[in-house]
Amino acid sequence: MADYSSLDIRQRSASTETPPAIRSHMEVAKLIDVSKCIGCKACQAACEEWNDLREDIGVNVGVYDNPHDLTPKSWTLMRFAEYENEGTGNLEWLIRKDGCMHCTDPGCLKACPSPGAIVQYSNGIVDFIEEACIGCGYCVKGCPFNIPRISEKDHKAYKCTLCSDRVAVGQAPACAKACPTGAIMFGTKEAMIEQAHDRIEDLQSRGFDKAGLYDPAGVGGTHVMYVLHHADKPGLYSGLPTDPKISPLVAFWKGGAKVFGLATMGFAAVAGFFHYITAGPNEVEAAEEEEAIEMEDKARARDETEARPH
């Protein structure tokens, strides 16, 4: 497949075509250090600005989360959680930048039935190709992190692209560039893991002995990773899943059910074809025609008797 896009493709949704695989690319990753985040939302502003999106003006529901949830126009969102640490007696404000995790084994791509609507580039970025999106919403069900959102305007799915357009020309994503505290870092996955370990060592030396890296193996690792002060309890950070996995329904639907359904359809078509060749179409014989006319006459006679007034 000749493909002139600036990034090679590793996986395409609902497709049997094999993308070119001889070139090797370095994997990239974004590292979000939750312990450094001050919740200023520069990443949200930079994301909207770069991607030419403008969120509708919302209403205050009493929390700092603004907007209240990810939307087709807000691909990243600061989620604020308060945690009373019983060990230290401190109230901790855990602020997590939510958004697509760019899984190595993406549930959205697995679940997508439209060929090429979701692709994974060889640098690890998972991207939605809206032109091919049919708006079925399977990606929403397939995502273990509840990220994709379907637009009511054009009925297509949207989410963070990890600024694939910037990364393709060697720039960091808009959010990572803007972050004033350096809580969002960007680089090769290897460099980010190294960076994370430096930070974790530092956090552990300052009393956060459970500090660690969030790079969940259940989805093959991610290309957006977190440094958490409480890596043993990811749920504290506005419900980050402890062990995210693609729903078994996706495997059943796209594996067993799909194969069985296709086999049934194929068998019915083939059987129908052979039946047509060997037995031919149903022919009406003269005797059957006569019988039918007789039955019709009888029925009419009966109707007339019943309908006659007494």
């Binding site: 497949m1 000749a2 493909d3 002139y4 896009s5 600036s6 990034l7 493709i9 395409r12 497709s15 049997t16 075509e17 200023c40 939302k41 520069a42 949200q44 502003a45 930079a46 909207e48 600005e49 770069w50 403008r54 060929p115 090429g116 692709v119 580039y121 991207d127 190709i129 032109e131 091919a132 692209t161 694939s164 357009d165 910037r166 393709a168 020309v169 808009a174 560039k177 803007a178 972050c179 004033p180 350096g182 296709l262 359809m265 194929g266 019915a268 078509a269 129908g272 074809f273 179409p281």
Partner: protein, 198 residues
């Protein structure tokens, strides 16, 4: 419109459709449109870069304005994107949420681009010339200073003017800040803030 389809015709059509669909789904690729996925093209590739300073606070982060057109004679420039300047020592490319959304500040409908005047008793601002505005400001300042200037506190000379305040810009250089400071203080004004305070 009524289309008459015989039962046989309908079944034939359905069968053909089903068979075709199954062929595609079973991997005979020709039926799948070969849609080449591509990354969104980099939107700044040929934009003009202009260095500037963020106008919000006195941290004065360096920014780059990306504008349409290459300044050739027939192309009108317009700011299309704003991003942090990685070579600026203050912010090294980063920006706060206000700096990150500067594009909407530049393009805002309510942005003040020229002097405006609302006469007493009216409800609308009217565009006026710089001469009109500066003359009027000078007149009012002079009148107020003549009325409220305090030269002495007892025997002590104080020369202060406390009934007027002055707010200077944040995105100024040392020289501009020095000039602003000298101008305001030379009139005896005490209520004053600008970048030189930081």
């Amino acid at each position: 419109m009524n289309v008459q389809v015989s039962r046989r015709g309908l079944l034939k059509g359905l069968g053909a459709g089903l068979a075709g669909g199954s062929m595609g789904a079973l991997g005979f690729g020709a039926l799948e449109p070969a849609m080449a996925a591509s990354v969104r093209p980099y939107k700044l590739a040929q934009m003009r870069e202009t260095r500037n300073t963020c106008p919000y606070c006195s941290v004065a982060c360096g920014i780059i304005l990306y504008s349409l057109g290459d300044r050739s004679k027939n192309a009108r420039s317009a700011v299309m994107h704003v991003e942090g300047d990685p070579d600026h020592p203050v912010n090294r490319g980063t920006l706060c949420p206000k700096g990150s959304s500067l594009l909407d500040f530049v393009q805002s409908e309510t942005r003040t681009k020229y002097p405006q005047y609302r006469a007493p008793g009216t409800s609308e601002f009217k565009r006026v010339s710089w001469d009109f505005a500066l003359d009027r400001i000078a007149r009012l300042m002079k009148d107020d200073r003549d009325k409220n200037f305090i030269a002495k506190n007892g025997d002590l000379t104080v020369n202060r003017w406390t009934s007027v305040g002055f707010l200077g810009a944040s995105a100024t250089t040392n020289e501009t800040a020095w000039m602003t400071y000298k101008t305001v203080r030379s009139m005896g004004a005490l209520v004053f803030d600008n970048q030189a305070r930081v």
